[in-house]
Symmetry: C2
Subunit: 85 residues, 2 copies
């Protein structure tokens, strides 16, 4: 078995209201960052996992996202990076 480290981005699906993103955008404007446009706030999750291969690790991470980490109705996820820990 090999230890892998995987970074996952979980973001609000496009078209779905992102109140957190809106709040951050408003706060940035009030701090003087006038040229800020859309802001989207999601989660950056880094998972260490032991697996037989990189593909096996990728499959497990996908299953984790589908079962727990990402809300299938309102969020999208992407595996941003996967490599040896």
């Amino acid at each position: 078995m090999t230890r892998f480290r995987c970074a996952i981005h979980i973001v609000p699906r496009r078209g779905i209201l992102d109140p957190q993103g809106k709040a951050v955008a408003d706060a940035l404007h009030s701090l003087g960052f006038a040229t800020v446009g859309e802001v989207r706030v999601g989660r950056h999750v880094v998972v260490e996992i032991e697996a037989a291969s990189e593909d096996a690790a990728r499959d497990q991470v996908k299953a984790m996202c589908e079962k727990l980490l990402a809300n299938p109705v309102t969020e999208d996820f992407e595996i941003a990076s996967l490599g040896h820990a």
Copy 2:
């Protein structure tokens, strides 16, 4: 002015307790993902901003992280990507 899109990762500083990461790791174990090791949960923020150049955009994003987005005591930030929107 040009419109840029920037992705920022804000993560708990190493050595600082990450209760959210611990909770996610425990939940993954209980779902049968036994080979999961450390889990760290941070924020993935995507900001659209107009700036005169890529360097100017990078400087503004850094200032946003230092002033608002990242807690200077408990979190580290990195600009994961910066390019034309």
